[in-house]
């Protein structure tokens, strides 16, 4: 994973709460077996509407999505994060993220910045007044700047550290191999095993 410190790019206002993963990427696109090439799938249903925000030329190359609360609810599909990244988004701002989406973002280096709802609304206003305004999301200082709006965002220390360092969870865990083996030795014998198969 590429380390992230700070990102600056055009902010895209998505003034809607409860943007679920079926909207971010409909299930028909989940048949692919690759991890990339999902840019066409992002918000594919909404993008058919010419008025949708991403169809406005000024936002076409946006890279910071500013959404309503409860972004990423629903399915566990990591494809939602892949699609956002493939399209060009590097950060998503919302006052609240669904747990699984939030975790998936951290695994893929998509910065999910939790910003208080009143500040999200100030950013929306700024973007409405000056479409095309760039937003800077600074992970080192946990700040978001957009025009006259200068605020902070919430992120836990561990996720921030992993993103700053670009660390891969599996390598980190494999360092704990001896602890995993010691734990396995204590597992009760009645716990089920899938093999050999019994039917």
């Amino acid at each position: 994973m590429e380390p992230i410190t700070t990102h600056t790019g055009v902010g895209v206002p998505l003034k809607q709460s409860n943007v679920d993963t079926d909207q971010i990427i409909p299930a028909v696109y989940l048949k692919r077996i690759t991890k990339t090439g999902f840019e066409d799938a992002l918000f594919s249903s909404w993008r058919k509407n010419p008025d949708f925000v991403l169809n406005q030329p000024v936002y076409k190359h946006g890279s910071v999505l500013v959404a309503g609360s409860d972004f990423g609810t629903g399915s566990s599909r990591e494809h939602a994060v892949w699609a956002l990244k493939d399209y060009g988004f590097r950060a998503v701002i919302s006052s609240r993220f669904a747990d699984i989406f939030y975790g998936n973002s951290a695994k893929q280096g998509l910065l999910a910045a939790k910003v208080a709802q009143p500040d999200v609304e100030l950013i929306w206003k700024e973007l409405e007044n000056n479409p095309g305004t760039e937003i800077t999301v600074d992970l080192v200082n946990r700040t978001v700047r957009c025009g006259s709006v200068d605020t902070t965002f919430e992120i836990d220390n561990y996720t921030r550290w992993r993103l700053l360092e670009g660390l891969d969870d599996i390598s980190l865990t494999l360092r704990e191999e001896s602890s995993v083996e010691a734990f396995e030795a204590t597992r009760p014998g009645f716990k089920p095993k899938t093999l050999p198969a019994k039917v």
Partner: protein
């Protein structure tokens, strides 16, 4: 402190910590938890197996891993090759990965194939006190057994395949206490729809829910699974119910249930998992089952629900700006007018299936209502059993005949129209009463309109053609 009273979720968590998180700056890094069971399906696993292959890593514990095909499989003509080449390739990829990495798989046509969350409990692999994960948000289903079960993303699928562990931040706990008893015609689906309407789609974020109280204790395992299944629709990654005699009765004798001395040891452990007296939850919600009506959604998220005896709300009913805008948008999408009685809403399709409501009890309850009655001729009804075994059992009981005589389509097992990945989809504008779990825009097919309902409401609706309660049918003409 050893004697601090603990909740069920906290006990299961405690018993799976491999490496505890470390404190720094007043924050704690995640605990590394051991995973007892990893369920795998074709949609969220190909990129995870590819990751293993690229890194040269094996599956650490194939004996704690099991795969089946469900999301992307057809429910008709399953003996023929899958018609859509992209779907076929994804299913073939799972089969090849299972073979390469030594993972047990139940493929289309196998008696143990089916929706992953129906298959695990059916085989007796889901047991109390376990940690269960799957690359599917409805993994919360398995919490009905007192397991800590949650959906994970594909990176986490790869992590569990490689290490059999997962770094997780501890959750807060929320008690959902449902007192009293359900009235006839009201089911566990109505409880969970009412809970989500109460706390909202984000209300459970960061929590594990524990459902408790007399109405929960009275439920069968099938009904408990329906409730835990939809915990994620309230934003909670996991929902749990304390194991009891009903749980043990369900597990006993299943293929992977403990036997002999193991059974006794298991029961002793399982009994110890119940929430201690005096344990404190971080939050509590209380619901009264005695006064609960059948519930149905009117909008485009599972929190937008009302009593079936109620009416479509007006956006102005909501004081919160966000909720009002969300309601406006939902009513436009759903093509509904405020004030319309829910029971006046006509549907085109009834879908009985999904990991929420496709088990034997669901099929029996629906069959009992439609038996000897006629389907509204303008309504199509699709019945998709949760697993091949459920289908076989239903056929042994003659339920398939009841559905077919009624005019419903009797399909093979899979996720089907719940998410419309396979050919089972709604057409634009088509309105559906669905026993599934998500009424999102386009979820069941582009432009499709979904009302979430219980199996008995689905059955009654198929008879009358408008959203209906079982009581509307049973009243003598």
């Amino acid at each position: 402190m050893a004697n601090t009273p603990l909740t069920l979720p906290e006990k299961v968590w405690r018993d799976h910590v491999v490496v505890p998180g470390k404190e720094s700056d007043g924050q704690r890094s995640p605990d590394l938890l051991y995973i007892d069971l990893h369920l795998v399906h074709e949609v969220t696993s190909p990129q995870a197996f590819e990751g293993l292959r690229l890194a040269g890593r094996p599956v650490r514990r194939p004996d704690l891993t099991i795969a089946t095909e469900d999301h992307n499989t057809p429910t008709l003509e399953i003996d023929k090759p899958i018609a859509d080449p992209i779907s076929r390739k994804q299913v073939d990829t799972l089969r090849a990965n299972a073979e390469e990495f030594g993972v047990r798989i139940h493929s289309l046509g196998d008696a143990d194939q089916g929706i992953v969350h129906v298959v695990g409990p059916q085989l007796g692999l889901t047991q109390p006190g376990m940690t269960v994960v799957c690359g599917d948000s409805h993994t919360s289903t398995h919490g009905a057994f007192g397991a800590l079960a949650m959906g994970i993303g594909t990176s986490e699928v790869e992590h569990v395949l490689a290490t059999q562990t997962l770094p997780l931040k501890p959750f807060k706990t929320m008690a959902i206490t449902v007192n009293g008893s359900l009235r006839p015609g009201v089911s566990s689906k109505d409880i969970i729809l009412a809970v989500i309407a109460e706390i909202g789609t984000g209300g459970g974020q960061g929590y594990v829910l524990e459902y408790r109280g007399s109405a929960i204790e009275e439920l069968s395992m099938d009904a408990r699974m329906t409730i835990c299944n939809m915990s994620i629709e309230a934003g909670a990654r996991a929902g749990m119910i304390a194991p009891d005699a009903t749980t043990y009765e369900f597990i006993k004798g299943r293929p992977h249930a403990p036997q002999g001395e193991d059974w006794d040891a298991a029961i002793e452990y399982w009994d110890s998992l119940r929430t201690d007296d005096g344990a404190v939850f971080d939050a509590e919600v209380i619901l009264d089952a005695d006064t609960l009506d059948p519930f149905v959604t009117w909008g485009t998220n599972p929190g937008q629900g009302v009593s079936l005896n109620g009416a479509v709300p007006a956006p102005t009913d909501f004081t919160d700006d966000v909720a009002r805008e969300s309601a406006e948008r939902a009513l436009t999408y759903m093509d509904l007018q405020p004030g319309t009685r829910m029971k006046d809403i006509r549907v085109d399709t009834v879908f009985l299936g999904s990991c929420t409501n496709s088990r034997m009890e669901d099929l029996r309850a629906a069959a009992e209502i439609i038996a000897g009655r006629d389907k509204d001729p303008d309504v199509r009804m699709i019945v998709v059993p949760g697993s091949a075994k459920v289908r076989l059992q239903a056929e042994a009981e003659g339920l398939d005949k009841i559905f077919k005589e009624f005019g419903a389509e009797w399909r093979f097992a899979g996720c089907s129209m719940c998410l419309g990945m396979n050919p089972d989809q709604l057409a634009p504008g088509e309105r559906c009463a669905s026993t599934s779990n998500r009424n999102f825009e386009g979820r069941q097919g582009k432009g499709g309109r979904t009302h979430l309902v219980s199996p008995v409401v689905a059955a009654a609706t198929a008879i009358r053609g408008t959203l209906s309660a079982p009581a509307d049918i049973l009243v003598p003409a």
